[in-house]
């Protein structure tokens, strides 16, 4: 495949050392017009590497002072590390990391910044790394997971990373100045993020108190991120499975029709859809391209499930499942489309709504259907077809 060839950079040395120099050059060259003043000096370069605000020299000096507690060298990584801690305001429930606001923190603006910086995760996945903070040399053993002994010994560095109990220490590392200088994003951060089409409740209750996240209920355009032809794979491959070799030589018109259309923007031409039936634990799949009308589909569903349904009845009746018995008792499944039968055919469309089969023209149905279900007619009337968000979320699970 045309992979991006690995773009080894010209500078082959340790990024830590050379970061200060060549990049500065790059920046100076690259900029041109936009005179960001800070780019012109190494001092400010360091600042930048520390994820500081452009032009904020003051902060960088203060930062190093605060960092001295940590027994680390003034290294850009160190600063980055401490930089992380400018978060003491925001109460993300799902971040149960630092909730301790140290008195040493200056008033500063308790901006609502999200928990940042290497923090103690939840107790189960709590181990983080305690390297980097120490020196330029690459960390020898980070990922002390899940031991806590190292935490005990390397109190100053690692502790903050490992357990919630040492959060206090680690918050010491927080640079209050940083907090104060927080990117002046106050309003922006506090602003609850309200995506245009997002559902009101995030799927995960753990983040209930966070700023509204975009959650994706059910099928989303462009998700999962795979190319269109992969979405078609299951269908087009399986439909050909049913053919003999000779068919593929002569060219099966069905197959051509299904696969030679130019895919439209959001490809919905998957022809094999799952179909489940109430009372039958095993589902089937139907190739919708094999049918051109609702009655044909209905017949196919009957054929697919007739035997299985009878087998279920037999087994639920507790008797021996004897082939003769089975065949004798197989009952045709009729009235799927008009509500007259014991069962009714419904489907889920591309928006996650549950719909009665038969309302729209066949080709429209085929282009929006995602899966089929055969429900007991009695249940259908009780259901609300076309769903609320909750039902959609449940349905899609």
């Amino acid at each position: 495949m045309m992979e991006e060839c690995s773009k080894g950079s010209g500078a082959a040395c340790s990024p830590k050392l050379l970061d200060l120099i060549p990049k500065e050059m790059e920046w100076a060259v690259a900029k041109g017009k936009n005179g960001d003043v800070e780019r012109s000096s190494v001092e400010i370069r360091k600042l930048e590497l520390r994820l500081g605000l452009p032009g904020d020299d003051e902060w960088s000096l203060k930062n190093t002072n605060t960092a001295k507690n940590m027994n680390r060298e003034r290294d850009h990584h160190d600063s980055l590390f401490s930089l992380g801690y400018f978060n003491h305001g925001h109460h993300h429930n799902h971040h149960h990391h630092f909730h301790h606001h140290q008195p040493s923190h200056k008033a500063g603006s308790h901006e609502m910044s999200p928990q940042v910086g290497p923090v103690a995760g939840s107790s189960s996945s709590s181990v983080w790394f305690n390297q980097q903070q120490q020196q330029l040399a690459p960390p020898s053993s980070f990922l002390q997971f899940p031991t806590t002994t190292k935490a005990a010994t390397d109190k100053q560095q690692s502790s903050c990373l490992l357990l919630p109990t040492v959060a206090k220490e680690s918050s010491q590392l927080c640079c209050t100045k940083v907090g104060a200088i927080d990117l002046q994003q106050g309003p922006a951060e506090k602003k609850a993020f309200s995506p245009p089409a997002a559902p009101p409740t995030p799927a995960n209750t753990a983040v209930a108190n966070s700023s509204q996240k975009r959650t994706a209920p059910g099928p989303v355009v462009g998700w999962p991120p795979i190319r269109s032809f992969r979405k078609n794979l299951a269908s087009s491959s399986s439909s050909s499975k049913q053919q003999q070799t000779t068919d593929s030589q002569s060219g099966n018109p069905n197959k051509k029709a299904a696969t030679s259309d130019k895919p439209v923007e959001v490809c919905k031409k998957g022809m094999f859809v799952k179909i489940n039936m109430d009372g039958v634990p095993i589902g089937r799949k139907v190739d919708l391209t094999a049918y051109d009308s609702y009655p044909r589909l209905s017949t196919a569903v009957d054929e697919l499930f007739r035997g299985l349904l009878a087998a279920q009845r037999d087994s639920s009746a507790g008797g021996n499942i004897n082939k003769q018995q089975q065949e004798g008792e197989e009952k045709a499944i009729t009235g799927l489309l008009d509500g007259s039968g014991e069962y009714t055919l419904v489907y889920e469309d591309n928006e996650g709504d549950r719909m009665l089969v038969g309302d729209v023209p066949w080709h429209m149905f085929v282009s929006t259907v995602k899966r089929l279900r055969v429900l007991k007619s009695s249940e259908v009337s009780a259901l609300s077809l076309g769903c609320s968000k909750q039902e959609k979320m449940v349905a899609m699970k």
Binding site: S6, S9, L183, E189
Partner: protein, 574 residues
Amino acid sequence: MNYFPDEVLEHIFDFVGSHKDRNSVSQVCKLWYRIESYSRQTVFVGNCYAIGPERVAERFSGLKSITLKGKPHFADFNLVPPDWGGFVYPWIEAFARSRVGLEELRLKRMVVSDESLELLSRSFPNFKSLVLVSCEGFTTDGLAAVAAYCRQLKELDLQENDVEDHRGHWLSCFPESSTSLVSLNFACLKGDINLPALERLVARSPNLKSLRLSRAVPLDVLQRILIRAPQLLDLGVGSYLHDPDSENYNKLVTAIQKCKSVRSLSGFLDVAPHCLSAFHVICPNLTSLNLSYAPGIYDNELIKLIRHCHKLQRLWILDCIGDKGLEVVASTCKDLEELRVFPSDPYVGQAAVTEEGLVAISRGCQKLNSILYFCQQMTNAALITVAKNCPNFVRFRLCILDPTKPDAVTQQPLDEGFGAIVQACKGLKRLSLSGLLTDQVFLYIGMYAEQLEMLSIAFAGDSDKGMQYVLKGCKKLRKLEIRDSPFGNAALLMDVAKYETMRSLWMSSCEVTLGGCKALAKRMPGLNVEIINENDQMEFVGGCDDDRQKVEKMYLYRTLAGQRRDAPEFVWTL
């Protein structure tokens, strides 16, 4: 300084292969620039709108091979409307006019018309190699022109293109005198193939090393082809439907046994779930196996096959292999470097692999450096373990089918897990995130992902800070693509100069407004800031209120070519 004659410099530059290095070389001094420019034969243009073809032809007078990329990456997932752009025709036309001695053209995500293929085939007598990846806009008629007029054609490689198939006759357009073919890949074609023509073509191509067939090529033809071309290194099986007891199958088994050179196996576009055992005999030689187009292979068949593949370095499969299957991979394929696990049923989201499969792989495959993994769920613990086991990742792409799913065990965000990955994998160049993620993960990325060049973000982050951490921290970032994340103008405008050090930025369904984009465009004339306004979502009536509208899709890129003139109506360049 000129201690050497030009020829010596030129000879030395011959040893400098990578684009980056050659770019660096050309910046040393004017002399080096000049010499490097006329001696460079292979040019890479990552964004076809970043520069005009005339300038390329002018600077690189010795140009023989060019790689062009067109649409943004998210076009692969239908986020970019058709007709957005990325036309190759102007390039071919300009090169033809400038009499570039083009021999190789490699395109990705571009619109290729039949006219451009015809022009290509007639304009460059030495043309040897055409590689089209994820392109569209052409039909088999264009291929017929290439077959007929490119007398020296060695390589015709069509990967995952959208080709309108008119007829199978293009294969018969290869003249009988054409014997130079080394690589032929038409697996993505959907229509019929002139099978006798194919067999004859293979028979008269003694140098054929790579052959990937479409599903229109049935088993008996495959068998005859293999008999004719036992020298193949790379085989893509088309259709693999057969009756295991048939004569054909037995012949196939014999034919396969003769293909001792095959190192790469793919295809199986139509496959009967059994009877892969015919291929077991070549499995021990395989270094690359791609079964990701074959949903019909059951997991136990897959596993049986893989157990023979001890030398595998690259494996692309579907998730129906399951976690258990991945454990088999982990214990068998000790040389594995690249793994891609695709979802077999993307709509339903019942992926068959979880974090366990990934952890198993990380334990068994120490050389793993590239992964694309679609899964049902993930945990921080698993990611941390993976990071510990495999610190060599260069590409790490994780896609949880439910895009905002938290840690399956703890319900926490996956910040820690991804943080572990970027922290441990010092050479990480490409990262795709998914799952529930807060700004925290971006802080980690900014801090640790020093070599990161490409980052893909979807449904992640809490505030502008997330994006800001990345922009500040990732010095080598070249491509950033974000969708459905709460990053707005503050993030976008924080460091506008950075975008000139990057190839491109994509933001869709974020919080950036028209005003923010306008401000950016104003401050950075060296960028094209494009707003994609499908379905008339935005109104450009004029006046201040407009600026507060959120921009649904924004794509910006640095360019020396100015505003592009082929933008469709729905694309506004600010």
